[in-house]
Amino acid sequence: MLPPRFDYLAPRSLDEALEFLDGHGDDAKVLAGGQSLIPVLKLRFASPAWLVDINRIPGLDEIAEQDGHLRVGALVRHRDAERSPVLRERYPTMAEAAPQVSDPLVRNLGTVCGSLAHADPSGDWGAVMLAMDADLVARSKSGMRTIAARDFFDGPFTTALRPDELLVEARVPARPGTGGAYLKLERKVGDFATAAVAVRVTMSDGRIGEAGIGLTAVGPNNLKATEAEAALAGADPSDEAFREAAELAARAASPSADMRGSAEYKRNVVRVFTERGLRRSVAMAIADGGA
């Protein structure tokens, strides 16, 4: 399986890239990590006229906190996220998810934003960003816009991005007193998730202040378990509350039966993982001084 022919451009600046996408966006695919795009090309599931390689553009590879949020640039690799001390200290959901993406070799090239833009319903980062209530920043020749994660995913491999837009950064709000977890059931390292749950809990005066729950591989795109989140807001962190939220999260899922299991099975995994994730996140938040 070998790729079809295409033309290739490696712009040296963001403006150059955006200029090109403005004219050719419909016929072009952006190459960042390439760990989703190149396999697609090799299977000849896509045949773009142009590949726009953004790896030479400076300034896109930062993970840094600024003005109350974490900025994850377009060229931040999964590996960078895995090794980031700031993620480990203050963004535990992300820190736990990063090493579980694909396999270590793919993580060395694949990017967080690339994964978000690819919008595989089985992608991990989408669920994480939904749980984190992140914003996604898109730039085009005509300007910049911020899209909330909950408005970003629009079906399998479909996002709110226009063909002339480039996803340049994910912005994750900093929240003290937060615990998090990412529980993923996969048949083996490198397989897509059978089901996965991203959990974030921010404590407030001994109660759950707010929670975020994102789901992987159990719907047409990554899902936000909004009802479960609502039930947890302001709740006492009891087993009862965890169970109820887990039940709601399972109901929010709409998995398809496939080789990984029945829909009923996958829903059950969502339920079990949500419960476990909440328990862990609360304990972490409390230990972190978020009581």
Binding site: R5, G34, D53, V106
Partner: protein, 174 residues
Amino acid sequence: MQVTVNVNGTSQTADVEPRLLLVHLLRERLGLTGTHIGCDTTSCGACTVLLDGVPIKSCTYLAVQADGRSVRTVEGLVEGGKPSPLQAAFKQEHGLQCGFCTPGMLLAAEALLADNPDPTEEQVRWALSGNLCRCTGYMNIVKAVQAAGAAMRSAAGVAEAETAEAPAMAGGAQ
């Protein structure tokens, strides 16, 4: 398009189509057939090379992306014509059978040991989880990597001790 890649310390230039995969540049254009192809879906890691020291799957990377960068293949592991401690450890611990996954394993292990010279069994298994092997059942590969780490640490320890001694010796009668 022209690409210039530093491969195993030597600058190589080739005229390629943008769609040419890095693994084919290495195998077909440069005759470095030590890097192997085992699958179509970026699943097996037989094609692993070091790109600026970082292990990647060269079947999922375009030759044109490597322009101006450095690549190390299994052929670049020998040190002064002799097998490296890692290569020697694989032989000593029987960490290979058919040899097809071995180049990829060696390079992934090389990167691991550069990062973590004393990995636990768990850390080795985790670091190599992008490289499939059908023959060994992985146990001896893990042993080999840990043995290589120990050998490299002990050699470094000796070298360090020698360096530490040197100033004193320089002052002494010689």
